[in-house]
Symmetry: C2
Amino acid sequence: MIIAYEGGGYQGWQIQADGGVSIQGEIEKALMTVLQEPVSVIGSGRTDAGVHAEGQVAHFITTKPPTLRKLQFSLNSLLPPDIRILRIGEVDPAFHAQYSALSKIYRYRLDFSQVLSPFKRRYVWHLPYLRSTEPMKKAAPLFLGTHDFTSFANEAHRGVAAKDPVRTLLRLDLLEEKEEMALEFEADGFLYKMVRNIVGTLVECALGKREVDDIPALFAAKDRKLAGSAAPPQGLTLVEVHYP
Amino acid sequence: MIIAYEGGGYQGWQIQADGGVSIQGEIEKALMTVLQEPVSVIGSGRTDAGVHAEGQVAHFITTKPPTLRKLQFSLNSLLPPDIRILRIGEVDPAFHAQYSALSKIYRYRLDFSQVLSPFKRRYVWHLPYLRSTEPMKKAAPLFLGTHDFTSFANEAHRGVAAKDPVRTLLRLDLLEEKEEMALEFEADGFLYKMVRNIVGTLVECALGKREVDDIPALFAAKDRKLAGSAAPPQGLTLVEVHYP
């Protein structure tokens, strides 16, 4: 399934132990109603509370293969309108939404306008006091390539750090248009809160709170406490997941 | 003041007798807090419950003229984030937001995609079953120019029809892009629900429920019951008000 959702009303992708409303949980509930059997939905990865998706990918296994068109229609009828199944198809049994992924693309949107449009408020980080984006443009290339991203990764939900904190950032484009900037990240994988921590660090450079030249030392220190605060969730969207 | 708002959370522009939440009411409340005197805010016109604005215009009179920049900042701090004062300025005492207006521009958005993006659901009328927009394009020019729009006007809130139902539609552009259409209306004034009733009638033409050729007779009948149902409010936005 390819899934789009507006994350503002959810505790994130993953089913919550405390019963909080999750996207995964809503989809499993709808599948249970349609297929009349319990189904586990495996996503390409978690997205946090408040984070959006244009192209989350998830798979599930069912003993009752239904007509795909009808299944998509039924799921969209049952799901709340802020979660939509954009496409649904059969895949090879070897396909795994998380482990088969080659790369993922995330977009983070900043807005520099003096007064934030009410139509953008759910989708951007509003930074009316940013004077220049030049330090961000200078800093961005330092994140490209293969690095140990420990300094830019929070511990996962249960206080467990990633076993392998090395990731390859394939692309980081800073696209400016009028009073907005979209930062597009493509990597072979992302550590927990990695995009938001990098954006937070880039914004601190632009605000003059941090020197671009100090970034290599940040990587070397492998200490999350030294990098910038995480950027707020509503600016972040999982755009696309690539598979072989 | 030039004001933008997302109308989904409001009973419309105008203060409600039943105490429902209105945009005018929220702005008057904020002005009262800042200016410490009761202030009446006069808009260019009403917008209905659920209708949005990118450029509503309103004026007010105060005995305590504050610094404009500071006033704008204070109002935006007090107002909910779905209402924003985009600009504020001093005007000639002869200026009246409603009576000085030369023309207004409204936009209505239709979406023809099979599955509606969660990011568009607050701003469009979703019509996945529309096969062709050709009848709409054929019908649109019939609305242009000066007409008695009685058949396309609801009675105002208190059961009162407009005294003069003649309006001049200066422009009606149908802008198609991918699976969307934006209908832009410019007129010297609009009767109550006029845009939504015209859009509803155009869509009935596209759905094959009504013949384009019957539209001149609709105008001639001067009977609201004969034209199409009003299109839903969330597709409509007051874009701009023009003054001399």
